[in-house]
């Protein structure tokens, strides 16, 4: 017991910590990750491991350069989570250098150049993904159909290494488009959306995950469960997921009603692409989202809106990453102007006038 106390109350604390928060998010991602690694086999596992290790290495390097303690800061789990989320958004059979370059861009440029944990303006995983997408469009859009881990045509461990590291005889890969990509390509060929969706597209398969896509795109159900787990443990609240998904669903449904040949329906928007991963795990990133509940609703609505616009009218089939980055840029503005009302004051800040009492 010290006789000179240098800090004021409170002297009790909730069992919360940054490490626990990050750990819970990672825990919520584990089921979807396991399923997808199982679906896409050894190459996916290799890529995942390389991306995560590269993220940790990048973080250690930056901390060492900045003269900050390496071990305690690595332990807080934030770099691990960034690498994990980046891996989830990559094509599962992408080469190893995509994972490494992406991790380094995300951690160094997206996080440490801004000042480290808590200082970054943009979501590091999305910075990495977008940088990769624009710089290396081909490897980043080469999706494969699922080849479950121990099934007949899945590559074995050595073949998996060959795929990831790009040596040895090439596996015969039939690239397949993700659902969103397929819809957009067919639309550009003149095939109406409702035709594309009516044959060759199984909603349940999309939900469960047996469709081509990135690691994180294809297991809507498990991601939803993970998101609900996070809400139950009070790591995130309903505001961002509901506003992102709600806006997408509403806009999709309205557009589909108005022009079914041109626009897919709301449920399709919800279940395909990175919607669920984005709504529960990426948009809810603590550092880059607004701090107030009302601000979070505005933020989520903006993400949903921009995602819908990009998916419907822009050149890319998937818009979530761009939408998140654009709304990240607006977060400081939202935080500046959207504030809770202070007790005893009006929303302008003047003391309230008590009502006349008889």
């Amino acid at each position: 017991m010290s006789s000179v106390v240098s800090i004021s109350a409170p002297y009790a604390h909730a069992p919360t910590s940054i490490r626990r928060t990050m750990g819970l998010v990672i825990l919520a991602l584990v089921p979807a990750t396991l399923l997808n690694v199982g679906l896409f086999g050894w190459p996916a596992l290799n890529l995942f491991a390389i991306t995560v290790v590269a993220a940790l290495a990048a973080e250690a390097m930056c901390l060492r350069l900045a003269g900050r303690p390496v071990r305690p800061t690595l332990n807080d789990g934030s770099a691990l989570l960034t690498g994990w989320l980046l891996a989830m958004s990559l094509p599962p059979w992408a080469p190893w250098w995509i994972g490494v370059v992406g991790s380094f861009i995300g951690i160094v440029v997206g996080k440490h150049l801004f000042g480290g944990l808590g200082q970054n303006l943009f979501n590091p995983a999305m910075v990495a993904r977008v940088a990769l997408l624009i710089s290396f469009p081909l490897p980043m859009t080469l999706f494969v159909a699922p080849r479950p881990l121990f099934s007949a045509d899945a590559p074995g461990f050595l073949d998996g290494l060959a795929v990831t590291f790009g040596f040895g005889p090439k596996i015969d890969v039939v690239s397949a488009a993700s659902a969103l990509g397929h819809v957009k390509t067919e639309l550009s060929r003149g095939v109406p959306v409702n035709e594309t969706l009516s044959h060759g597209h199984d909603l349940l398969a999309t939900a469960v995950g047996m469709v081509p896509g990135s690691l994180g795109e294809t297991s809507a159900l498990l991601l939803l469960l993970g998101g609900l787990f996070l809400m139950a443990r009070k790591v995130i609240t309903w505001h961002i997921p509901v506003s992102v998904m709600g806006t997408l669903f509403v806009l999709g449904s309205v557009a589909n009603l108005l022009d079914p040949a041109r626009h897919a329906d709301g449920l399709f928007h919800l279940l395909s692409g990175a919607t669920l991963l984005g709504a529960f795990f990426i948009a809810t990133d603590l550092v880059t989202s607004p701090v107030t509940r009302q601000g979070q609703l505005i933020y989520g609505t903006g993400i949903g809106l921009i995602t819908f616009v990009i998916r419907s009218w822009a050149g890319y089939p998937e818009g979530m990453a761009f939408a998140v980055l654009l709304m990240n840029a607006l977060t400081p503005l939202i935080d500046r102007y959207v504030r809770p009302r202070v007790f005893g004051r009006t929303s302008k800040g003047t003391p309230i006038q008590p009502k006349a009492r008889s």
Binding site: S3, A9, I18, G118, P340, R345
Partner: protein
């Protein structure tokens, strides 16, 4: 009864089971009692005894100074052995003028004021005067002179008396035990206070985690028509005066104003019990119930402690501190004050003495803020702690004031929940202290400026008056001068 929503707040681990089933016990009188002259909000009391005086139990030893002050009384019969500057139970450990009494072991009451026979026929001034005479202050921890609060009917229109039985701080169970064991006395005190305030409605609010206290108080109030005993949700800081009033009545106290401005006065249950003693028996406030708790104490207990007993004696009575004590506090863990040593006395505001282990405080190294917004959700006042801390870090105190730091009630909810373990309240207390000091300096400067200007104006007036007088004299002299001048001058 309809209850309204309040925002924010946290659910700490209450750990009340350490002492909630321990009946109140009395501590044997120690060898020395130290009574500091400042145990209340307002001006310190003025000693009216001298070294060597014999005093009886309950005899006034210090009288109030000014309108906002409180009297002090001898907790037992004995001799005044010293009046000196001794360490006060304050984190700074700075000395404070203190009266030291050596008990004579007889514990004899001095001549007390006569009991008020018919309190409900007495005027509110008579009751307020009796409460002032008996040195009663708010025993919830704020120690505001109760007589001033009872006198509010003269300046405000009041309709409700709210009795605070919430006891929302973790570990503390003194109010809980008091309500279970002395419910009738509390209800009597409440009725007297309601009569003094002239209110038609009384609500006694008790948190739902105290079912036996609720039952005891409901039974004691069952015969009285205007008193309602209700259970309120268990949440910290439900005991905060403004939030309690909003919960019970839906009325929001305007910023910088009192709850009396919206017609409600709030008193603690312990204060009500003290009012009962003062009015029915003429006994002043000389003892209070203190919860001694925490895993760092060998035998946690609720103790009725005469004022002035040293914390070291109290801890010894409760088995002493264990080796694992990491923090020693006066009050609760959320808003309490750290004790610089155990060589300090128990005063009117000491609701608890806590010895907490590291496992209970969960103190961890500070990490960078991750902008999670938990502090914003937890703040019961609707402030944005993350923004205020960023401004205070850069010494932008005006920005912090605009962000609302002066409205902060220092409840500690934000710091409790922060995953990065940032000591948020420390920043806010620093900012509030600096802003208050800057305001004081500015008022001083304004005053000096006004005085200088007034003096300059006065000097100018005096000089002007002198010139006028000189002019008048010259004019008066001239007609007398002229003939002489004419005569004197050579023509």
């Amino acid at each position: 009864m309809k209850m309204f929503r309040i925002r924010g707040g946290v659910h700490p681990e209450y750990r009340k089971e350490l002492t909630s089933e321990q009946a109140i016990v009395e501590i044997p009188m120690p060898a020395r009692l130290r009574i500091p002259l400042q145990q209340h909000i307002g001006a310190p009391a003025e000693a009216i005894v001298a070294v060597g005086d014999r005093v009886g139990k309950g005899q006034m030893i210090a009288r109030p100074q000014g309108g906002l002050s409180a009297a002090l009384h001898a907790p037992t019969s004995g001799v005044v052995v010293d009046i000196a500057a001794l360490p006060a139970p304050h984190p700074s450990g700075l000395p404070q003028r203190t009266i030291v009494i050596e008990p004579d072991g007889r514990d004899q009451w001095a001549a007390l004021p006569a009991p008020i026979a018919e309190p409900f026929a007495a005027s509110s001034k008579a009751i307020a005067d009796r409460v002032a005479e008996c040195g009663i202050v708010g025993l919830g921890g704020a120690t505001f002179p109760a007589a001033v609060k009872l006198d509010l009917r003269s300046s405000y229109t009041l309709d409700t008396l709210a009795i605070n039985g919430a006891e929302c701080e973790p570990y503390l169970t003194c109010d809980d035990r008091l309500m279970r064991e002395q419910a009738d006395e509390i209800i009597d005190g409440v009725r007297i206070m309601a009569h003094a305030l002239g209110v038609g409605r009384v609500i006694i609010a008790i948190e739902n985690n105290k079912p036996q206290a609720l039952a005891a108080m409901t039974l004691a109030a069952s015969g009285v028509s205007d008193i309602k005993v209700i259970g309120i949700p268990t949440r910290y800081p439900m005991g905060s005066e403004r939030h309690l009033v909003q919960l019970l009545t839906g009325r929001e106290t305007p910023a910088r104003k009192l709850t009396a401005d919206i017609g409600v006065v709030v008193h603690n249950v312990g204060t009500a019990a003290a009012v009962h003693q003062a009015v029915r028996f003429g006994r002043p406030l000389v003892a209070r119930v203190v919860t001694v708790s925490g895993r760092g104490i060998a035998t946690p207990r609720n103790v009725k402690v005469p004022l002035g007993v040293m914390v070291s004696d109290l801890l010894q009575f409760c088995g002493g501190l264990t080796d694992s004590t990491a923090r020693l506090l006066s009050g609760g863990p959320m808003m309490g004050q750290p004790l610089p040593s155990t060589d300090v006395p128990v005063i009117k505001g000491t609701s608890g003495i806590l010895a907490l282990t590291q496992a209970e405080t969960r103190r961890q190294p500070v990490q960078p803020c991750i902008r999670c917004g938990s502090c914003v959700s937890a703040c019961p006042v609707g402030l944005v702690p993350v923004e205020m801390v960023a401004l205070i870090r850069k010494e932008n105190l005006d920005g912090a004031a605009t962000a609302g730091v002066m409205d902060c009630i220092s409840c500690g909810s934000c710091a409790y929940i922060c995953p990065a373990h940032i000591p948020l309240v420390q920043y806010f207390n620093y900012a509030k202290g600096r802003l208050n000091a800057l305001q004081r300096d500015e008022r001083k400067r304004d005053l000096v400026k006004r005085l200088v200007e007034a003096r300059a104006a006065r000097m100018e007036r005096m000089a002007h008056a002198k010139r006028e007088a000189l002019k008048r004299n010259k004019a008066a002299d001239k007609p007398a001068d002229t003939p002489q001048a004419g005569a004197a001058s050579p023509s």
